[in-house]
């Protein structure tokens, strides 16, 4: 047998080497490349241009009670306005604190031993502050939801009776809109959350809990599926090695279900981000949802343009969150084929 292998190798070595020709790019190959480049970059650019054109046409023709719908240029201008307003506000804040420090020094020089009251700057939140609030809220809600969904999902996947017990609730509560949850959550929060020194705003907590309520389902279902569909061979390995219950979950079941869990988390974060805007609008949590609502109440052409800025912001942040989760999914997953 080994001799045969050796013979094959000898023959392989003796095989004449084919002289390598330098690669010549034919017309056809060039065409192929151009077509690929076009379809990857050109097509989206063209579709975007068409979109902008239709938008500007619609905008200039539709009349509403405060003038006309803002076109792309007006929206772009308002984005600049929001940007400038943010930096102007920051400038004012710095000046305020500089002034405050000066006054404190004066006060303490005149009245040694006394305390100077700590005053916080109370300017309105800028657009970027509101984006940050929204992100904080969505991640808090997502975290709460995941902390519930992953353990419950694992138990669902492990135990058929438990899954059967929980499944009706999953099926009934999964399709419920955040707008239905929010009043209940708000009433519960204001009844139950009354500490003397609150860590969170009530509006923030209500929004976060609503996000959690709506976004935990995909994670729960995916985790249960991932755990239930674990390869029986892996469980046999665990049995032969006599792994304890905890170790079996930690070393075998969780890693094996991780790709499913992360698919669920990715879906959940997407749902959470979508739910958040509605929740913030109603709960008056100072985030993007409240911003849109306030701008709607102002009702001018400029504020409508700012709402459109918000729409694009929400879209881009949602896209970025999805990519972020995909990145995480690829990092933790042993399955390199995750898309």
């Amino acid at each position: 047998m080994n001799e045969a292998v050796a013979n094959v190798e000898a023959v392989m070595e003796k095989a004449p080497t084919i002289p390598q020709k330098p690669p010549v790019r034919t017309n056809r190959e060039t065409d192929e490349r151009l077509r690929k480049i076009f379809s990857a970059i050109g097509a989206p650019l063209i579709s975007f241009a068409i979109f902008l054109f239709i938008w500007s046409q619609v905008a200039s023709h539709v009349k509403v009670n405060f003038g006309s719908i803002p076109g792309p240029m007006a929206v772009w201008k308002q984005a600049g306005v929001l940007w400038d307003a943010h930096w102007a506000e920051r400038q004012k804040e710095t000046e305020f604190y500089q002034e405050l420090a000066k006054r404190r020094a004066d006060f303490l020089a005149k009245n040694p031993g006394q305390t100077f009251p700590d005053i916080k700057y109370s300017g309105p939140p800028t657009y970027f502050d509101q984006i940050c609030t929204s992100l904080e809220t969505v991640f808090t809600g997502f975290l709460i939801g995941s902390l519930i969904a992953v353990p419950v999902g694992i138990i669902c996947g492990l135990s058929r009776p438990f899954f059967n017990a929980v499944n009706p609730f999953i099926q009934i509560f999964k399709p419920v809109s955040p707008l239905a949850w929010l009043p209940i959550v708000m009433i519960m929060v204001s009844a139950l959350y009354n500490p003397p020194h609150p860590w969170f705003e009530k509006a923030f907590l209500s929004s976060a809990i609503t996000v959690a309520m709506c976004s935990l389902w995909p994670t729960l279902i995916n985790t249960a599926l991932g755990v239930a569909s674990i390869d029986k061979d892996y469980l046999n390995v665990a049995r032969v090695l006599k792994l304890g219950w905890w170790k079996q979950i930690w070393k075998i079941i969780l890693p094996s279900a991780l790709p499913y869990i992360f698919t669920g988390l990715r879906l959940s974060l997407g749902v959470g981000w979508m739910v958040l805007i509605a929740a913030e609008m109603l709960a008056q949590n100072p985030g993007l949802g409240k911003f849109i609502w306030d701008m709607f109440q102002n009702g001018s052409s400029d504020t409508l343009a700012q709402i459109m800025v918000a729409v694009f912001t929400i879209g881009f942040i949602g896209f970025a969150l999805d990519r972020l989760m995909l990145l995480l999914q690829r990092l933790v997953s042993y399955d390199a084929k995750a898309i």
């Binding site: 047998m1 390995v237 032969v240 090695l241 070393k251 075998i252 890693p255 094996s256 042993y334 390199a336």
Partner: protein
Amino acid sequence: MGFLRLQNVSKGYGASGSRTEVLRDINLAVEKGEFVAIVGFSGAGKTTLISLIAGLIKPDSGMLTLNDLEITEPGPDRGIVFQNYSLLPWLSVFENILLAVESVNPNWSAEKKKQHVEKYIAMVNLTAARDKKPRELSGGMRQRVSVARALAMDPQILLLDEPLSALDALTRATLQDEISRIWLEDKKTIVMITNDPDEGIYLADRIIPLTAGPNATLGPSFQIEIPRPRDRKGINHDPHFKQLRREIIEFLLNSKGQRQTAITKKLILPDIEPDDLAIPRATFGDRTKPVRRREIKRVEADA
């Protein structure tokens, strides 16, 4: 007596109405340090048999004992090499084996565990692939990791469930030699399941055919008196090898109710002359019509 003993073990699947008895009255005694191969058709219940010994499933009747202790559940004293490797894909080669070592020897120091794992990685010649994930390995390498994992648990008996059936012929031969070498070094008791009589005879001390299922049972055991180390090429000309192989295959075929395939019909082959490709194509124009298949006449063989 026997180190591993199976007494009248039976196992079936399914509800009472549509029940299939897979294994019936299995009796087997394996001595300490012995290498036993069990050879049978696919679907005969070979994996059921090894799962019974591993304790992954319970017999319907009969008893299995290892070292006079009844086998009731799986445990690390019976190292099993699964047919499809069953490596954990999220762990590297080292970590896969470490998981087994940790579960068997939780009190060892980290350094001792590491050395132990590395010893077995070296034993199966995988030191270079120590930190690779299973998906980066070839089938043969994966199976070696699986063997190393089973051996690293230092089991009393090693169970091999068709360990090489998913591999290509060359890798298979290499791994057979490797298993043979490891057995000579380690002198573990091994029960190997295989569907290849040649493999069984080449590796084992004793080979036992499993009849075709359902109701499969073990046939007579054949002692293999070929001295070790065995020579892969020479063994093909060994008269003992040839005789054993013929007897085993005959037994297996008989158990299936199929006697040796005998010719009962004779076909008259069509009188077609193959085209001579050396002749230039232009001269093909005037060839006669080829004989069609339906024109082939069948006559009964004059038995």
